[in-house]
Symmetry: C2
Subunit: 367 residues, 2 copies
């Protein structure tokens, strides 16, 4: 019996293939943000998206974080030691790199996110650069490798979940990378990494290593399974560019009320207040436009002031007068670097960073 | 445009039909308990299963609960008034009536639960019988109707979520029915009914009306959509028996570690501690048996003392010596009334109360 007997290579679904039992198993474990929860500035516990590659580890309060490799003073810190260091709180919108995957045609077979793998939290922790300064980074260090306690097999490879960051990112302050021990003022929930996780504002979720137990600096570029997995590829044998920063997205709170099964939205004729959130990990969001006619015409939305939360989503509002019939609503975000959401689907084998505009079917009934 | 144009009757999937986009939409919103979270006596926030028929309503702290219909003194209570009454805390295992639905063949098309739609919480609130005594139930009242603030369409019928209980159950103390305002000591999370929900220990989830805003006593038996929907039927035109109490189930924490996609479990040869939970809403669980060979032989598990929590799951433990190869593990619960989990699938059109024993595929590798 080999691991590769039941832990298979990545694949793309056949055109006629419904969602598989394996994908449903992942969808039942992990979960997205119900879109009406976009109404909260900070996502309440249990509504923030969660993706766990393997199992949620059982963690005790005697947890230790080790920092080693190419450092002058290897460290082993308990939670008390971390909490005694200066703390920073950042409001961060976190999105899974696979958000939008199950809407792709053809569909890469993996966690079948539709469009709701997002959430915003206030993360409190120790700036990583402070910890690394204390450990003393050697001049020849190039990458910083983060190891979580979650253990499993993926495409035939047994592993602890591991991701690397370049030293310049890990020791930088834009974004400020955190070793976080609190979410919305409370200890991390088990599924969000209790007791410690990495938070890398602006980067997709795969970089935010949960159940963080070791940080190790390497003198050669880190080549790990997850580093190789999260890349943009059209063909399996390509090297591909790495998946890193969150591309822009706007989401609309679906108006009216839903049909239970189809989630079609129902409204009655008259003015409807539309509201949603928009974010980008590349640059601040500067514009949101809305369409009520499936993209034939676009109207600017009112974007809330950025305030002090560079890494959090921004609220936007627009109005619409509903008339009887079917309508297709979308919103589209653009950021300060001119990145805008595509109107035609992007595609890659991993199903990463699919920020095609959301499509909300609304039926206006006259009774 | 009619509601019935997009809000369709119930149906059963074709034999070859994969999970549909509609079912995936529900799976992405709602979520189960990742089975490793069976390790916690009380399920941490965000890991307890959630099913929301329509949208999570926006609720404010000025919420009021009205009690009316066939009572002598109609009441309108704010949260402060409820919290000033005597409070009771009960540890309750809650399970969705549709748990196990997506494992059925053929598969009823609805929320596609596999086996994880369960959780246990400490619910605090006012006993319903205390509120009803204060309102003074008229002698001719037969049913108590509970209305939530969640609004939607289901199979062509626009509705607020509503369920009824017979007066004898609502005014009884076995089980003690609660109007709950706290979960695990904190205000209810939005998705669990903030600020008020009903808790009916031993009954499936559909009875535990969330976002509770009205209680009304009727002099005729209540006939509502959800009352008609949650019934055991083989054919759509049958009346069917109502779905009420939770039938017995044991769940095993899947041993070892998983493959990311298939969730196949991997262990290495040697002794393995098996652990899980078992519950029944019909009577206390009195026995759990375990098989390591797909049901050819069954071995008794050690069942933890019941303690003071009649309505909560019980922990069980067993040991197993893994040898290289594939193994099929199951656990089976029996309660004090002799109800035991079936070894062949039960089936009904709604996909309710499918407590067929769990099957955990384990691969023991020799390296």
């Amino acid at each position: 019996m080999e691991l590769s007997d039941f832990s298979r290579p990545s694949r793309v679904a056949d055109p006629s293939e419904g969602i598989t039992h394996d994908e449903l198993g992942l969808a039942a474990r992990n979960h997205g943000l119900p879109l009406e929860a976009l109404r909260y500035d900070v996502t309440p516990p249990g509504l923030h998206y969660v993706l766990v590659h393997y199992d949620i580890p059982a963690a005790a309060s005697d947890w230790r974080l080790s920092i080693g490799g190419r450092v002058r003073h290897p460290l082993s810190l308990d939670l008390g030691a971390l909490e005694s260091l200066p703390a920073t709180t950042l409001r961060v919108t976190l999105e899974c790199a696979g958000n939008g995957r199950a809407l792709l045609d053809p569909r890469p077979v993996s966690q079948p996110w539709l469009i709701e793998a997002v959430g915003t939290a206030d993360w409190t922790g120790t700036p990583l650069r402070v910890l690394l300064a204390e450990a003393g980074v050697e001049a020849d260090a190039v990458d910083v490798v983060f190891t979580g306690a979650d253990h499993g097999v993926e495409r035939g490879v047994e592993q602890d979940y591991q991701r690397g960051l370049p030293v310049a990112v890990a020791t930088g302050d834009d974004p400020e990378v955190l070793v976080a021990y609190a979410m919305n003022g409370d200890p991390l929930p088990p599924q969000h990494g209790y007791p410690l996780r990495l938070v890398v504002p602006g980067w997709y979720g795969m970089a935010h290593v949960k159940w963080l137990r070791d940080i190790s600096l390497t003198e050669t570029p880190f080549v790990g399974f997850q580093q190789a997995a999260y890349r943009f590829r059209q063909h399996p044998d390509e090297v591909g560019e790495p998946v890193e920063r969150i591309v822009p997205r706007a989401l609309l709170i679906p108006p009216g009320f839903p049909d239970f099964l189809s989630r079609t939205r129902i409204v009655r004729p008259g003015p409807i207040a539309l509201e949603g959130r928009a974010w980008s990990g590349l640059a601040p969001v500067t514009a949101v436009e809305v369409t009520h006619d499936g993209g034939r015409s676009w109207h600017p939305a009112e974007l809330e002031q950025d305030g002090t939360h560079r890494w959090a989503w921004r609220r936007w509002q627009a109005s619409w007068v509903a008339t009887p019939g079917r309508h297709l609503l979308s919103a589209r975000a653009t950021d300060a670097e001119g990145n805008a959401q595509p109107l035609e689907q992007p595609w890659n084998r991993g199903g990463f960073a699919n920020n095609l505009v959301q499509r909300v079917e609304v039926v206006c009934i006259d009774s």
